[in-house]
Amino acid sequence: MTGREARAWPLPPVAVPAAEPEPWPGPRPLLDPDSRAWIAALSGTGATREQAVARLHALLVRAARFQLSRRASRLRLRGESVADLATEAADDALVSVLAHLHDFRGASRFTTWASKFAILEASVVLRRRVWKEREVTLDGDAFFEATPALADEEKREHRELLESLRVAVAEVLSDRQREVFVAVALNGVPIDLVADRLGATRGAVYKMLHDARRKLRTHLELPGGAATL
């Protein structure tokens, strides 16, 4: 039995916020009956809240396990199981959900809103595991040297296109934009990993990628790519 399994629910998996939650700020949003019941129980005290937190944790474990199982082919687990990673992700998600409870405005059902935290945590855990032993390369040489198997005429067009992109990446982008674009867009490094490497948030890295793409599209006189696919 691993450490994770040893501290499985109903023992508190992580530091759950205090049993006396803060008063709800302002008027409560209009919610569907099920979501209202969740919020009431999680905002309450005593046994009612404890039971609701336990049910919430179980939901988050299911969501995390679903995500990890779905992407299991990318996992190379060594001494750890999907269940362990799911519990780890659910523990972190539980803390986030409880900390952000007041942000829930009822735009969806509470269970959908809460599940996205578990999916996010599981995705991040998975991407970090998958890339743990892989090189996070910020160099675009391999990409620009690769030539797909094409007919001669297409090969020539391919090389011209690639050369235009290579020159644009070298000349138009700032150093940081180049690092981000090459890592994420060319080499397929997950944006979380690049954010970790640069000590930035995922949102900040995506903004750099967005700005780099816009500069390149303008320079290459190309429309937005993904929009046309």
Partner: protein, 85 residues
């Protein structure tokens, strides 16, 4: 010969698609944080059979441009659909 040409064409189209995808969406798009904040709503619209991309075009554009958010969107939608069954 015809099959070889078709095979080359498919490779070329795949490569062009990859090239264009690298350059991301041209339309206005959300950032990762805003995408996460609204993702549950987007997914429930989809699960209900509503055209979520039309209702929330900036989020849809971000999903085309961001591989990590796209992956999380696919997994949340699949989870919600499974729970709804």
């Amino acid at each position: 010969m015809l099959n070889r040409l078709r095979r080359f064409r498919r490779r070329e189209e795949r490569w062009q698609a990859t090239f264009l995808r690298m350059l991301g969406p041209e339309e206005p798009e959300l950032g990762c944080d805003e995408c996460f904040a609204q993702l549950d709503r987007f997914v429930e619209l989809e699960a209900a059979g509503v055209d979520a991309a039309e209702a929330m075009p900036e989020l849809a554009a971000h999903l085309r441009g961001c591989g990590a958010c796209r992956e999380e969107h696919e997994d949340l939608l699949a989870f919600v659909r499974e729970r709804g069954q």
